[in-house]
C-alpha cells in the first residue's frame, strides 16, 4: 500500500466531541506549525450545540501558502466515537488513522488502503493523571504529543507554546508538558517510521500573524475611536463584542476614576442594537453593532431611517448559512442583497468586503470614517470563516498620523461665523453631503428636527413631491460620491490578452487565487478582480468590459454578487457566469477550478474579436 508521503503539504483533521476542550489542544498544534514558519490554516467546523455533538478541526499545512480549505484529509485524529467510522471512511487513501485504542475497533474498520495508528489515549491519560476534570483536557494534549512525533514536529516549539500560554500560571504548564511527552514517547516506542507526512521548518511566514477576523475588527473599532456599542448575541458575531470589551479593559479605563471610555449595552434585540447605534451616532459618538443575517433582517426598518435621515451607522455582518436559522455555525456569503438594499423604499447601503484579519481591522476604521463622511450606514461584510477561524494575515498596523474623519459637522464657531442660512439637508458643496450639527453645540443656532418622514432642505416636514424627489436624487448624488471614497478593488491582470476574468470578494479570496494558480498550470490564464466595496468603483466596469467572460465566484446559492453587478452596472447577464458554493463549508480551490472548467466546456467557443458565436 502506498502511504501518503509529503512535506509541509497536507491536511490533518481532528474529530472531537463539542465541549470536550479540544479547541485549545488543536490550536496548540496549528500554532506550532505556524511558528515553524510554515503557512497553516485551521478551520473549525462545529455544531450549533454547547456540548456533545461532533466537531471537526481541519488544519491545512501548505508551504506554498495556500490558505483556503483544501477539502479531503490525509491524517485524522479520530477521538469522537460518534463519527469514528465516518472519519475512517472519508480518510484519503494512503492516509493515517490515529485513534484511541483503549477500545478496540470493530470489523467495520476494514480498509486496507489506510494506516491505522492505535494509541491508548484514555489509558495513558488515566494512568498519568488523577484529576478527572484535567483528564478530559489532557487526553487531547496527549494526541498532540503523538502527532508531533509522527510528523516530525519540533517538540521544543510545542513546549514553548505551552509555556507561553501559561506564563502567568506556570503550574498549569507542567501537566500539559507531561501530557505532550507521554503522547510523544508512546508514538516513538510503538509507531516508528509509520507516518510519511512531515513538517519542516521554513521561513514562509515572515512578520505575519495568526488571528481571527472578529478580534481584528474589534481592535479596528477601538483604534477608530468607537465608544458606543449596542449588540445582541448571535453566532458567529458574538466574539466581536467580547473582544471589544476585552480591549476596552486594556485601553479604555480611566486611570483616575476607573471608569470606562466606552458604553457597551447588550440590547433586547437587534432592532434596539441598531437603534442604539443610530442614536449615538446622531449625537456625535462613534458607535457600532455586530450581528449576523437574522439580525440584519430585524434591523431593516432602522437601516431605512438612517439612510433617509442621513445618520452614520457602522454594522458588522458576520454572515452565516441562511435562510432563517439555517446552519448557524456554518459559513456563507448570502446576505449581500439583503444588506445592499436593506429596508423598504429605495435604499442602498455602502458595503465593505474584507478578505483577511488585516482588512477586518483596516475596514473597521475605514467604516467609521466613511459612515461619518457620507452620513449613512456602512456594513462590513465578514462571515463565519473569516470572523471565527484563525487566518494568517499581514500584521495589523495603525498609522499614528491618521486622524478620524468626522465628516461635515459644524462646531459652535462654524455656526457663529457662518453667513448663509444653514440647512441640515442643504447641499452646498455639490457632493450630495450636507452639514450636520450635534445637539447642545450652540445656544441659538444649529438645532434641527430629524425625521424619517419626507423633509425639505431645512429639515422641515414636507409632502411636496418636487422637494421629496429632489431629496431622493441628492441621495443618489451622494451615492456617486461614495463610489470614489470606498476602497478600490484589487485587480490582477495575469495575461493582458486573456478574455477570461473572475470576480470574487471576502473569504472566497484565498480559494479563488489558488484555483487561478492551478488553472494557470493547465495553461488557462484568468485575470481577477477582488471586489472590496459596494457601490461599484469605475474599475469594476473597466474590468468587466475588457473581458469576454467573467466568472463570479461566491458562497451562496443564487449568485447574489452577480445579481448586484447586473443590477448596478447594467452588465450583460450572459457574460457573468456563476461559480457557486453554498454547502456551509468554506469554499475550496478544487470546487472553483472544477466549476470553471465545466463552464468553459459548456460555453460555445468564442471568436477572437470578442463576440460570442
Amino acid at each position: 500500500m502506498k502511504r501518503i508521503e509529503r512535506v509541509n503539504d497536507f491536511v490533518v483533521r481532528f474529530a472531537n466531541v463539542n465541549g470536550s476542550g479540544s479547541a485549545s489542544a488543536n490550536n496548540l498544534f496549528a500554532k506550532a506549525i505556524f511558528r515553524l514558519g510554515v503557512p497553516v490554516s485551521p478551520k473549525n467546523i462545529f455544531p450549533s450545540n454547547i456540548q456533545g455533538l461532533p466537531t471537526w478541526y481541519e488544519v491545512r499545512v501548505s508551504e506554498q501558502g495556500y490558505l483556503a480549505r483544501r477539502g479531503g484529509f490525509d491524517f485524522v485524529v479520530a477521538v469522537n466515537g460518534q463519527t469514528l467510522l465516518r472519519d475512517y471512511r472519508e480518510l484519503s487513501p494512503g492516509g493515517y488513522f490515529l485513534y484511541d485504542s483503549t477500545r478496540e475497533l470493530n470489523e467495520e474498520f476494514d480498509r486496507s488502503d489506510v494506516i491505522p495508528i492505535p494509541i491508548p489515549l484514555t489509558d495513558l491519560c488515566n494512568t498519568a493523571f488523577e484529576n478527572p476534570k484535567l483528564r478530559q483536557l489532557l487526553k487531547n494534549i496527549i494526541y498532540v504529543g503523538s502527532l508531533a512525533y509522527l510528523i516530525h514536529l519540533d517538540f521544543a516549539v510545542l513546549t514553548d507554546a505551552v509555556n507561553q500560554q501559561y506564563r502567568k500560571n506556570p503550574k498549569l504548564a507542567e501537566p500539559n508538558i507531561k501530557a505532550l511527552e507521554i503522547g510523544f514517547a508512546y508514538a516513538r516506542d510503538h509507531h516508528p517510521d509509520t507516518c510519511k507526512l512531515r513538517v519542516e521548518k521554513t521561513d514562509r511566514i515572515g512578520d505575519k500573524i495568526l488571528m481571527n477576523g472578529n478580534s481584528a475588527f474589534a481592535l479596528g473599532a477601538i483604534y477608530a475611536g468607537a465608544t458606543v456599542v449596542g449588540w445582541y448575541p448571535i453566532t458567529p458575531s458574538t466574539s466581536v463584542v467580547e473582544a471589544f470589551e476585552k480591549y476596552t479593559t486594556m485601553f479604555r479605563v480611566e486611570a483616575d476614576s476607573g471608569r470606562r471610555k466606552a458604553a457597551i449595552l447588550q440590547a433586547e434585540d437587534e432592532l434596539a442594537a441598531l437603534g442604539i447605534v443610530i442614536g449615538a451616532s446622531w449625537n456625535g459618538a462613534r458607535a457600532f453593532t455586530s450581528t449576523s443575517g437574522p439580525g440584519i433582517s430585524l434591523m431593516s426598518e432602522f437601516f431605512g431611517l438612517a439612510y433617509f435621515a442621513e445618520i452614520p451607522a457602522v454594522v458588522l455582518d458576520v454572515q452565516r448559512t441562511g435562510p432563517s436559522t439555517g446552519m448557524p455555525t456554518r459559513t456563507q456569503q448570502s446576505d449581500l442583497l439583503s444588506c445592499a438594499y436593506a429596508s423598504h423604499g429605495d435604499t442602498k447601503h455602502v458595503l465593505l468586503f474584507p478578505c483577511n484579519p488585516r482588512e477586518c481591522f483596516d475596514f473597521a476604521a475605514d467604516a467609521f470614517d466613511l459612515a461619518e463622511r457620507l452620513q449613512t450606514p456602512v456594513i462590513v461584510m465578514s462571515d463565519l470563516d473569516l470572523g471565527m477561524n484563525d487566518h494568517i494575515s499581514p500584521p495589523l498596523h495603525w498609522d499614528d498620523n491618521r486622524t478620524y474623519d468626522r465628516g461635515k459637522v459644524l462646531s459652535a464657531e462654524d455656526l457663529e461665523s457662518r453667513q448663509e442660512q444653514w440647512g441640515r439637508y442643504l447641499d452646498v458643496d455639490g457632493d450630495g453631503i450636507c452639514y450636520r450639527t450635534y445637539p447642545g453645540t450652540h445656544p441659538t443656532k444649529g438645532s434641527y428636527f430629524t425625521r424619517g418622514t419626507s423633509h425639505n432642505e431645512y429639515s422641515g416636514y414636507t409632502e411636496e413631491s418636487p422637494i421629496y424627489q429632489a431629496g431622493m436624487e441628492r441621495l443618489l448624488l451622494k451615492w456617486q460620491t461614495a463610489r470614489h471614497l470606498v476602497p478600490a478593488p484589487r485587480i490582477k491582470i495575469r495575461d493582458g490578452k486573456s478574455r477570461l476574468g473572475t470576480i470574487f470578494f471576502g473569504s472566497t479570496t484565498q480559494a479563488a487565487y489558488e484555483a487561478i494558480g492551478d488553472l494557470a498550470l493547465q495553461g488557462l490564464w484568468i485575470n481577477s478582480l477582488r471586489l472590496r466595496a459596494f457601490p461599484l468603483n469605475d474599475e469594476v466596469a473597466d474590468f468587466i468590459n475588457r473581458h469576454e467572460t467573467i466568472f463570479v465566484i461566491e458562497q451562496n446559492r443564487d449568485g447574489q454578487l452577480r445579481t448586484l453587478l447586473i443590477n448596478e452596472g447594467d452588465f450583460p447577464p450572459e457574460k457573468l457566469l456563476k461559480v457557486l458554493s453554498f454547502d456551509g463549508l468554506p469554499i475550496t480551490a478544487a470546487c472553483i477550478a472544477a466549476k470553471i472548467g465545466a463552464l468553459l466546456q459548456e460555453k460555445p467557443q468564442q471568436s477572437k474579436d470578442g463576440g460570442t458565436a
Partner: protein, 350 residues
C-alpha cells in the same frame, strides 16, 4: 404642513431666571386635531421647561411614530429633535444618552408606540433605568391610523365605532414600577395644575422617569362609552396627593407644616414636596404603589399623581461605569492606543 410660528414677541413677556420667555420654549404650530389632549400635554411640557429655566439647547427630544410622537415638533423649537420609527424611541434615546450624558433627554411616545410595537424597548429602557423622561400620551387608541383600540384601552371601553374592547388593558404605570423605573407618575392632559409639577419632577430625576399622561383623542376616542374620554376621566379621577416641585434654588423659602407632608430629595438637590391627604400613600414603596393603583382600579377610579419614586437606583451610565465625560467629546488622544500598543498585541499573535 407645519410651519414656524410667527416671530412676535411681546416686549414685556415675563422671563425666567435663564432670561427666556415662555415663547422661547414653544415649537412649530401643532397640526393635531383641535382639542387633542396631546396639545395640552405639550403645553404642560413647555410650561415645565419655562418654570425650570431649562436651557433649550441642552435638551434632546425624541419620539416614535403616532400623533403623540409628532408633538416634539411643537415644543422646544430650539432643541435638537428626533422623530424616529414606530415603537423604537427608547433605543434611539439610549444611544443618544450613551453618547452624551450631559444633556436632558425627553422621550415622547403614544400608547400604541409604547404598549404594543414598542413594548420590548419600553421594558428594557426601564430596567436599565436610562436617564430619560419618558412621557406616554395615552389615549387608549391609535390616533394616527384612525382609532383602532390600543393595548391600554380598558376592557369594555368603546371608541367612535362603538365596539367594546374585549381585551384586558395594560397598565403602563404598574408595569413601569415592576420593571424598575425609578420615577412613575400618572397625569391627565386636562389637569395642568398637576401635570406641570409631575414633569418638572421628572426632569430633575436621575434615571428613568415615566409619566403616563391620559390624553384623550377627541376624534376617535372621546365618546361617552370610552374610559379615556375627557368626561369619563374627569369623573373618575383620583389623585394620590397634590404636590409642589421645589427647584434647588427655592428650597429654603418653602415652608410646609410637618406631619402632613412627604419630601423627596432629588439628585440635583431639588425637592418634591407632597401634601399628604389622609388617604395618601408613601411614594417610595414599590409594593404600596402597585397596591394603590390596584385598589383604585377596583373602585373604578383612575389614580393620578406621583405614584413611585426611588432615588437610590443607579442610572445606566453608573451601572456600566462609563466615564463622566460625554463620550462624544473624546478625541483620538483619549481613544486610540497608537501603533506601539498594536505592535505588542501583534507579538502575541506570532
Amino acid at each position: 404642513m407645519s410651519t414656524d410660528r410667527p416671530i412676535f414677541r411681546h416686549p414685556q413677556a415675563t422671563k425666567n431666571s435663564a432670561g427666556f420667555s415662555r415663547k422661547d420654549y414653544e415649537g412649530a404650530i401643532s397640526t393635531l386635531c383641535a382639542g387633542c389632549g396631546h396639545d395640552s400635554a405639550t403645553n404642560a411640557i413647555i410650561q415645565a421647561c419655562f418654570e425650570l429655566a431649562i436651557l433649550p439647547h441642552r435638551v434632546v427630544k425624541m419620539s416614535g411614530i403616532g400623533c403623540s410622537s409628532k408633538t416634539p415638533a411643537y415644543f422646544l423649537g430650539r432643541s435638537h429633535g428626533f422623530n424616529s420609527v414606530h415603537g423604537r424611541m427608547p433605543s434611539i434615546a439610549t444611544g443618544a444618552n450613551m453618547a452624551n450624558r450631559d444633556l436632558l433627554y425627553v422621550g415622547i411616545s403614544g400608547d400604541g408606540d409604547t404598549a404594543s410595537i414598542g413594548m420590548g424597548q419600553f421594558a428594557h429602557a426601564l430596567r436599565r433605568n436610562l436617564n430619560l423622561t419618558y412621557i406616554c400620551m395615552n389615549n387608549g387608541c391609535y390616533g394616527l391610523t384612525k382609532g383602532q383600540d390600543s393595548a391600554t384601552a380598558d376592557r369594555g371601553s368603546a371608541g367612535k365605532k362603538g365596539v367594546p374592547n374585549p381585551y384586558s388593558a395594560i397598565d403602563l404605570c404598574e408595569l413601569a414600577i415592576e420593571l424598575g423605573a425609578s420615577y412613575v407618575a400618572r397625569g391627565f392632559s386636562g389637569d395642568k395644575q398637576q401635570l406641570v409639577p409631575l414633569i418638572k419632577g421628572a426632569f430633575s430625576h436621575s434615571g428613568l422617569a415615566f409619566i403616563d399622561v391620559i390624553s384623550p383623542c377627541v376624534t376617535f376616542n372621546n365618546t361617552s362609552t370610552s374610559t379615556k374620554s375627557y368626561e369619563y376621566v374627569r369623573e373618575h379621577i383620583d389623585s394620590t396627593n397634590t404636590f409642589d416641585f421645589i427647584p434647588l434654588q427655592q428650597e429654603i423659602l418653602a415652608h410646609y407644616p410637618e406631619g402632613t407632608s412627604q419630601d423627596v430629595l432629588m439628585h440635583d438637590g431639588s425637592v418634591l414636596h407632597l401634601h399628604k391627604a389622609e388617604s395618601s400613600k408613601d411614594v417610595t414603596s414599590r409594593r404600596r404603589a402597585v397596591d394603590s393603583l390596584e385598589e383604585e382600579k377596583a373602585k373604578g377610579r383612575l389614580l393620578t399623581g406621583l405614584l413611585y419614586v426611588n432615588q437610590d437606583i443607579m442610572e445606566t451610565h453608573d451601572i456600566i461605569n462609563s466615564t463622566l465625560r460625554p463620550l462624544n467629546t473624546l478625541k483620538e488622544a483619549d481613544l486610540c492606543p497608537g501603533n506601539a500598543a498594536l505592535k505588542k498585541i501583534m507579538e502575541g499573535l506570532r
